[in-house]
Amino acid sequence: MSKNTVSDRFRKVDVDEYDENKFVDEEEGGENQLGPDEAEVDSLIRQGNLMGALQAVLKNPPINTKNQNVKDRAEGLVLKVLSSFKSTDIEKGVQSLDKNGVDLLMKYIYKGFEQPSENNSAVLLQWHEKALSAGGVGCIVRVLTARKTV
């Protein structure tokens, strides 16, 4: 007979941690990744050069780093740029990106969906529609299967 039948703390043990064949992703040095340059992006937004701001904010994505702050800061910056676009310019913005750019943009869009708020959902959905027509469902599949995300 088991002694302690009241406590169910054992259910919270993560057994996968103790699996000797557990799959661990390869470490790729990402400690130097700082994400997009905040100052550069801000100045481009102030100047009204939204296309340039979009290109700048998609540079240096913090994909390999484990630092959550860097990732959050990058996401915030991207959302700022995406919200400052006029609805009619969104399509042009997406066209100015190459294939990898569209994939990266889609990653940021889904990251933004994870924390819906009053302001950003509508904007993100508009961007999502345009990015989908440029990148196709393959682009979304790549967001879902990527091991290293923004």
């Binding site: 799959f23 294939k99 994939d103 469902v137 682009c139 599949v141 790549r142 299967t145 091991r147």
Partner: protein, 369 residues
């Protein structure tokens, strides 16, 4: 181009005999059914019942006329035709998870089985004991092996795995063959040696294929990409991200062209340019159905708007030949160098045979180099 619907359930795997008159397939259960072509009909002539779990891989050796099957019951059987019936011989694979794919080597003296035990079993027949024996390739595989393909030299084996990598291993068995000559992938080939490991694509590798010369290997992975690597002093990789759903199977039809198919239910052509080391999209290989364009009445328009929030008259019906994902593609005529016909089977229980010449003339921009 012809389509035959065998079943209502998915065809798990299939294999053709040497003269392409018989097809062995698994109707998503523990059995293997062999159908024979009779005019335009297909008649079931044999049912092979031995597995205790779903049959996940079938391969039919053209010269020696033996069938090897593997299943989720962790076993593989080699079937030989004795008179009018197929007799099984059990092969102990020493795996503790399901077997996923099986392929005869080009000389048919070995076969390889990929499994969920994170290893590949290379089996060969030992004459003294009258028994199939297997050797394991374990390192550095870290997850299930989903697909295999042999190099024409009978020694190198390409394996696609769920640990996001496509690798080329040496499966040299000294008991059954001579030391192989150097290839584009390397010259020292002891058993289990990794000759090539892919980088750059993420996503499970669903399908892998060597070209006819063996100098190129192509793989399709779950992140909707196709990649080709060319052996050499340093292997050159070219990959292409596609805008479609992931592809499940890929095969070379000439040295420079690949056909792949997957969850989008139609085969797609890709062309590899070795000078630029670049892969490009060649075209969609499905025969377009001419749907009758009928005008919409105002009533229909309002109904659509009410039900589907769109005034579109497009119906939600797949226009492709296959009505569900295509899971396997096999070459019928011409080999991987000059394929004239290939066959696809899928989750809709149907099998389609595609004629390359007809496709080339039907699609204007298609060019198969």
């Amino acid at each position: 181009m012809s389509y035959h619907s065998f079943l209502l359930e998915p065809i798990s795997c299939h294999a053709w005999n040497k003269d392409r008159t018989q097809i062995a397939l698994c109707p998503n259960n523990h059995e293997v059914h062999i159908y024979k072509k009779d005019g335009s009909n297909w008649n079931k002539i044999h049912v092979l019942k031995e597995h205790n779990g779903q049959v996940t891989g079938i391969d039919w050796a053209p010269e020696s006329n033996r069938i090897v099957t593997c299943g989720t019951d962790r076993n593989a059987y080699v079937w030989t035709l004795k008179g009018d019936a197929w007799k099984p011989t059990l092969v102990i694979l020493r795996i503790n998870r399901a077997a996923r794919c099986v392929k005869w080597s080009p000389k048919e003296n070995k076969f390889a089985v990929g499994s969920g035990s994170r290893l590949i079993s290379v089996c060969y027949f030992e004459q003294d004991n009258d028994w199939w024996v297997c050797k394991h390739i374990k390192k550095p595989i870290r997850s299930t092996i989903l697909c295999l393909d042999w190099h024409p030299n009978n020694v190198l084996l390409a394996a696609g795995s769920c640990d996001f990598k496509c690798r080329i291993f040496s499966a040299y068995i000294k008991e059954v063959e001579e030391k192989p000559a150097p290839t584009a992938w390397g010259s020292k080939m002891p058993f289990g040696e990794v000759m090539f490991e892919s980088t750059g694509t993420s996503g499970w590798v669903h399908g892998v294929c060597f070209s006819d010369s063996g100098n190129r290997v192509a793989w399709a992975s779950h992140d909707s990409t196709v990649a080709v690597a060319e052996g050499g002093k340093t292997a050159v990789c070219a990959s292409l991200t596609s805008e479609t759903l992931p592809l499940l199977c890929v095969t070379f039809i000439t040295e420079n062209s690949l056909v792949a198919a997957g969850h989008d239910c139609y085969p797609v052509l890709f062309v590899y340019d070795s000078n630029k080391a670049a892969l490009s999209f060649g075209g969609k290989l499905d025969v377009p159905k001419q749907s009758a364009q009928k005008g919409m009445t105002a009533r229909e328009r309002f109904q659509n708007l009410d039900k589907k929030a769109t005034a579109d008259s497009k119906e939600a019906v797949l226009e492709s030949v296959h009505k569900n994902s295509i899971s396997q593609i096999s070459i019928l005529n011409g080999g991987k160098a000059q394929c004239a016909k290939f066959c696809t089977t899928g989750m809709d229980g149907g099998m389609a045979i595609w004629d390359v010449k007809t496709l080339e003339s039907a699609m204007k921009d298609l060019k198969i180099v």
